[in-house]
Subunit: 209 residues, 2 copies
């Protein structure tokens, strides 16, 4: 395996393509055509380089996939380790993780989009799915803790609540575009307001029991 | 084009496969392998029939796609024409459409899943996307009307609220399985409770202004 470098800071002698810019193009093509349908030849053509220029950075197509998925997953797990996610009332920690996830999604949109399409067709995809499940457990545990602290409605199973909540977050990849005039912070505000407080302006006729 | 029959009621002489059962298998394979990657040969193999047995029902692979997408879309539009969606306060009509969409999603899960993956790669896909956008407008108009009636929070753009709401509904295709012990009605209850009233048990510290 080639060593991983941060291409935006450390560039090699070859013109134009760091590992980072290679990853950007690879992820764009994977999202457009599907990972399985994309060949290294095609990536080389898109990049305007030879295949050996790609092999200068990575040993295989699946290594590109692993690097791309890890970029999204590492960013999401980093959120769960921030102070806002590890101390204070669970409802606040949950909100912190939701806001942070929206921020990651906006900043790394193609990488998160790729992650959400992974179906487990290879060991690399299975490892990514396993990390996604671990992330989901962190969220579910926060929802459960917030319910025990009396801050989350007790009438819905915490596992369902967390799936619905992150279903909403993940669905942003379907329509959100960072250059569309809605900032990541405004998006996070709108999502947190509607999911935590609900879209109703008035209290519901029958409060949760 | 072959006439469309309801295969569950009207069966032809050939053994085993009505148009309905053909569609079920085709949609399962499209979801599994992708529409573009699936050949008529492959469908015939899966069905255990010859290609001409498939052409007995449809003229082309894209006709299978069109029938499958229309099945999901027709069911969704039918919801918007039910009495509960056309009279009464907008917030109740919105809730009716959300519940009905969850019901359709649970009943036609593979068809809705296929619909949500369509990216507009052919005229049939473009027509489906256009119908999806029309459905989205119906929902956005309901959210806007409910806001004007004072029932939906005014601090989030109705277009964003409706995208977040149906993002939640659509994300159900990622994890909901009708045979997993959660009924479509219970799922709709959980989704409506958390999205309309919010996941918080207590009123938010700062109510919407």
């Amino acid at each position: 395996m080639t060593s991983i470098e941060n291409g935006s800071r450390v560039r090699r002698g070859r013109p134009g393509h760091s590992l980072d810019s290679l990853l950007d193009v690879a992820v764009a093509v994977f999202n457009e055509r599907g990972y399985d349908a994309t060949s290294m030849e095609e990536l080389a053509t898109r990049l305007g380089v030879t295949k050996s220029a790609i092999y200068h950075h990575v040993s295989s197509k699946v290594e590109l996939l692993r690097l791309a998925l890890d970029r999204a997953l590492d960013a999401l797990f980093a959120v769960t380790e921030e102070p806002g996610a590890t101390s204070g009332p669970a409802i606040d920690r949950l909100e912190h993780v939701v806001r942070g996830s929206v921020r990651v999604l906006a900043a790394e949109l193609p990488f998160v989009t790729l992650l959400l399409r992974v179906r487990g067709n290879s060991p690399v995809e299975q490892a990514a799915l396993q990390r996604r499940r671990r992330f989901d457990r962190v969220v579910t545990d926060l929802v459960r803790a917030a319910e025990e602290e009396g801050d989350v409605r007790p009438d819905v199973d915490p596992a369902i609540t967390s799936r619905l909540l992150f279903g909403t977050v993940n669905s942003l990849t379907e329509w959100y575009r960072p250059d569309g005039g809605l900032s990541a912070d405004d998006l996070a505000d709108a999502l947190v307001a509607t999911t935590f407080q609900g879209l109703r302006a008035r209290p519901a006729p029958t409060p949760p029991s």
